[in-house]
Symmetry: C2
Subunit: 411 residues, 2 copies
């Protein structure tokens, strides 16, 4: 099966395979080929070039991309899309001025999401999650990380991860899974957090590992959730099972989460709405990718991650949706790219790099995703006819996507 894309107005993010992530000033560059063709063979990018020398031969399908821009699909490196039910009532309660306690009593919050998830059968959970995955694929997401963390029991956490693995098998999108047992302390461990951490380390991690359900481990390192010491303990335990950390840090407070992440060679540290100079220095001496989640900031009204300052400090940056029912009920990476420009002052080049090359790095997919590179997966976005790629973040309320190719398949 081969597919030829012709007359591409601009082919974005054309990279050598050795480029795995971009830092600081390098994020300003977006290598582009004008008036190009691209050939897909068996689901991978076989070749590409200038229209002055188009390939000859017969092709199963030819797609005319006149006036259209082609770029690699978004990689969404931080989501919680496997969940049961929605929490729009909680959103409305919040507008109506209900307190956190009142919302929790009415059935809101992570712990109540956990109860709902525990009561939902695996097939039902799969169907609900598949619907979300199908939506975000149409919005251009070609690789997605999915966390557990609404289970909070061994069984329910594993149920979530099994659903994520089933999604990976059933859809052309690439799925990476992360075990986030340490998302919140369950009600029954209210005054016995240590016991819950022990359960994570002694029972959940071995079980998750034995079934090969997780690629990464995550901890919500934050005041009122898991301390730096708790995080250290869980990451140390996870290390025995070969699980690399991708952790929630600095959403509300800078308590040392970045430091413990770097110590454990975390692939990513995510959120970072609050960042100290020490945090920046730690990251400068690491291979850890900071990940910003601007849709969460928009929805909750909390500060945006100072992405501009991180890049100006020479750091790399990835952006992701944080799709979840409580704090970021969207999986639309196009909005995230726009918000990164509008709210975090990233240039379109920086935002696109943050959502493709660097986002692929943030989920361990540098070899196969995130750029237009021979041999990488043919995961592509074909835009509508738009005047320039700057139009993507500029027209933040429009859907600029004409069609999406995932693993060589036209959706």
């Amino acid at each position: 099966m081969n597919v030829l894309l012709t007359n591409i107005k601009q082919l974005l993010q054309v990279r050598d395979s050795r480029v795995t992530n971009l830092k600081g000033a390098a994020m300003k560059e977006l290598p582009t080929l004008e008036n190009a063709w691209l050939l897909i063979e068996n689901g991978v990018i076989h070749n590409y070039g200038d229209m002055v020398a188009t390939p000859t031969g017969s092709f199963d399908k030819t797609i005319d991309c006149s006036g259209k821009i082609v770029l690699p699909s978004w990689c969404d490196s931080h989501t919680h899309i496997v969940f049961a039910g929605n929490r729009e009532q909680e959103f409305v309660d919040r507008i109506n001025g209900l307190s956190y306690q009142e919302i929790a009593e009415k059935g809101g919050g992570i712990l109540n999401s956990a109860r709902k998830l525990q009561e939902t059968g695996e097939d039902d959970l799969y169907m609900q999650s598949a619907k979300r995955l199908e939506e975000v694929m149409k919005l251009g997401t070609g690789a997605i990380e999915i966390k557990s963390g609404y289970g909070l029991t061994k069984e329910a956490e594993m149920k979530m991860l099994r659903v994520a693995k089933r999604l990976d098998k059933a859809y052309p999108v690439t799925v990476k899974t992360t075990f986030l047992g340490a998302h919140a302390v369950p009600e029954k461990f209210k005054d016995k957090k240590e016991d819950y951490i022990q359960l994570i380390c002694d029972e959940m991690l071995p079980a998750v590992s034995a079934e090969g359900l997780a690629d990464y481990v995550d901890v919500f390192c934050e005041d009122g959730y898991f301390s730096v010491e708790d995080t250290d303990k869980i990451l140390t335990a996870a290390n025995k099972y070969g699980l690399v950390p991708k952790i929630h840090v600095n959403q509300f407070n800078s308590i040392g989460g970045v430091s413990v992440g770097v110590k454990h060679k975390a692939l990513t540290v995510d959120h970072l709405e609050i960042v100290s100079d020490d945090d920046i220095r730690e990251l400068q001496h690491s291979e850890t990718m900071p990940v910003a989640l601007p849709a969460c900031s928009f929805f909750l009204g909390i500060p945006y991650t100072p992405g501009r300052a991180l890049i100006d400090a020479g750091l790399p940056l990835a952006i992701a949706t944080d799709y979840n029912p409580g704090s970021s009920p969207t999986g639309n990476m196009n909005f995230v790219v726009a918000a990164a420009c509008i709210k975090m002052n990233l240039t379109p080049e920086e935002a696109i790099n943050a959502a493709t090359v660097n986002a692929a790095y943030a989920m361990g997919l540098s070899k196969t995703h995130g750029s237009i590179t021979k041999g990488k997966k043919a995961n592509l976005i074909i835009t509508k006819e738009i005047p320039s790629y700057g139009f993507l973040p500029y027209s933040f309320g429009s859907n600029c996507i004409d069609s999406v190719i995932c693993n060589g398949e036209l959706l």
Copy 2:
């Protein structure tokens, strides 16, 4: 031609024809019919009711709305969608830290939009604008106000309004037009603002009126643009031609724009990012509708209109997109409804009322638009299968619209 909608999960905004606008606490109510049918005849809402008693007879078309919510189309009472070219480069320049002066020198700002518009032929301008109108119709907008204001010469202002009138004739959406000659002072009148105001009053207004091109008159009443005295003069002149004011006030400063608007019985005062207690008192003793433009606040990073405070003070409120190339490059009313909830703390009921009933009032369309009322235009949004109408603002990054009916036609 008749069309029957059956099995509607919820029919929203079912109102008596006497309800023309909602103030204060009344905005919290959204009258709803569960499990309903609705019959369209010859482009108007003929009748509706409970599925226990569905109408019998034969219908040209029957649409099954199982699991779906039906509501009146959005009315977008403040846009500038007739413009030439886009300004995404200016957006990028702003991110890159260019000053206003540098951006203007590179070809940005209203005055440069005006130059571009003056150079664009009427047919080209029509084609560019029609594309935008088609997009927003698919996003659920069933009535739209369009302003001039990028012409700034008699000829160019009239060209813009003629294009808006052509759009009204060519599309099923209802278009209202507003003459905004006083959008900015043109370069050639730089130190002779009084002369430009004279030109507006003595030449533009008579010409616009003679051709019947405008329903309303608008002025950008703001420091550095047109003063309260300038505004008073223009509105007084417009009054002779029967043009009711809908004016730009309080975007950056509260300089008395609300007061001069109320004095001239303005139908609406729009923007209101900065509101004083005096402004609120003026509005409490008027029939003038305040209009908030949250997409502009999002894009520019300026304060959101204190919509919550206005409603709590017993006022009505409408919301609109402000679609324009410089400060709000979106015509997506769904985003505006979401942002009104997320950023201005309106409940879903208040935001939907602000975008339908009150928005119809804000463009003089109370008799025909803005609610599910027998005899009103069949301008309807049919949502996808969603759990509740609160899901519309909650899932701010999703397109929840399944289909749109405009003037009885399924788009």
